[in-house]
C-alpha cells in the first residue's frame, strides 16, 4: 500500500485534506515526496501519524503539544515523564474549564428559570445582565484560557 494520495489519507484518518496540508505547514507532518505532477504521496506510517494527531486533537491537545508528543513517540528509549506531565497539565486545564462552565451553567439556570415571559421590561434574562452586582463576573475562575477548542470537531 504505497503511494497514498492526500484524499485517501484524509479518508483513512478522518482529517480533512486542507487540514492535512495545514499540519504539514505547521510542522506536524514531514513534507512528503511528490509525484511527477507535484502531488503529495503518503505512506502508511504517515497515515498512522495522522491517526495519532486526530486522537490527540479529539482529546483537546494543542498542536504545539501534539508536536511534542510526536517527538517523544519517536524516541523509544526516552523517559515518558514529559508526556505524562503534559497530559496531566492538560487534564488540569480540562477540569478547570469544567468548573468554570459549571458556574456559568448555574447562573444561566437561575436566569432562565426565573423569567416569567411577560415582556423585556420585566425579563429576568435582561434584568440579570443589566444588574452587574457581584456574581461570577467578579471572580472569573482560575481558567488560564488554555483550553478552548476541545471536542468542537465536526462529526465529518
Amino acid at each position: 500500500m504505497r503511494e497514498i494520495s492526500i484524499g485517501e489519507a484524509a479518508r483513512q484518518s478522518g482529517i480533512k485534506v486542507t487540514t492535512i496540508r495545514y499540519y504539514e505547514e505547521r510542522g506536524l507532518l514531514p513534507a512528503p515526496p511528490r509525484s511527477d505532477s507535484g502531488r503529495r504521496m503518503y505512506d502508511a506510517a504517515t497515515v498512522e501519524r495522522l491517526g495519532f494527531i486526530r486522537h490527540a486533537r479529539d482529546l483537546g491537545f494543542r498542536l504545539e503539544d501534539i508536536a511534542e508528543l510526536l517527538a517523544l513517540q519517536g524516541q523509544p528509549g526516552a523517559s515518558c515523564a514529559p508526556a505524562d506531565s503534559l497530559a496531566r497539565r492538560h487534564l488540569s486545564a480540562v477540569r478547570a474549564r469544567i468548573a468554570a462552565l459549571h458556574a456559568l451553567e448555574m447562573e444561566l439556570e437561575r436566569m432562565v428559570s426565573g423569567c416569567d415571559h411577560t415582556d423585556t421590561a420585566h425579563c429576568r434574562v435582561i434584568e440579570t445582565l443589566s444588574d452587574h452586582a457581584r456574581c461570577i463576573a467578579d471572580h472569573p475562575a482560575g481558567v488560564t484560557g488554555e483550553l478552548d477548542t476541545a471536542g468542537a470537531r465536526g462529526a465529518g
Copy 2:
C-alpha cells in the same frame, strides 16, 4: 458626571480601552460624540451598556448574541421570548460542552493513571494516542462548536 473619557469608562466597566473601541467597531456600542481634538466622550448610559456587555461576555454569550440582547433591552414593551430562547440555547450549549469535557476528562484520567513512568516505549499516554481504537474520537459528542471562549477572561 458627563464627558467620561474612554480610559475612565474602561476603569468603571472593567473592559479594556482597546476592547471598547473594538465593540464600537463591531456595532455593540454607538459611535460616541467626540471632543474638539477627536477623543471619544461617553456618558453614564454607555458605561451601563458596557457593564451589560461585560456581564453577558462573562456568561459566555457571543458578541452577535449580545447585540441582539442589547436590542431587546432597548424595547421595553417587546416580548422577552427571544431573549429567553437565546439564553436557553446558550445554556444547552454550555451543558453539551460540559458533557464533552467530562468525556475528555475520563479518557485523560485513564491515560495518566495507567502510566507506569518507565519510558516512551511503554508510556500509556503515547500508547493511548497511538492506538486509534474506538473511543470518544469515534462519537465526537453533539457539540456544535458554538461555545468556546466562555470564562477565559483574565482577572484584569
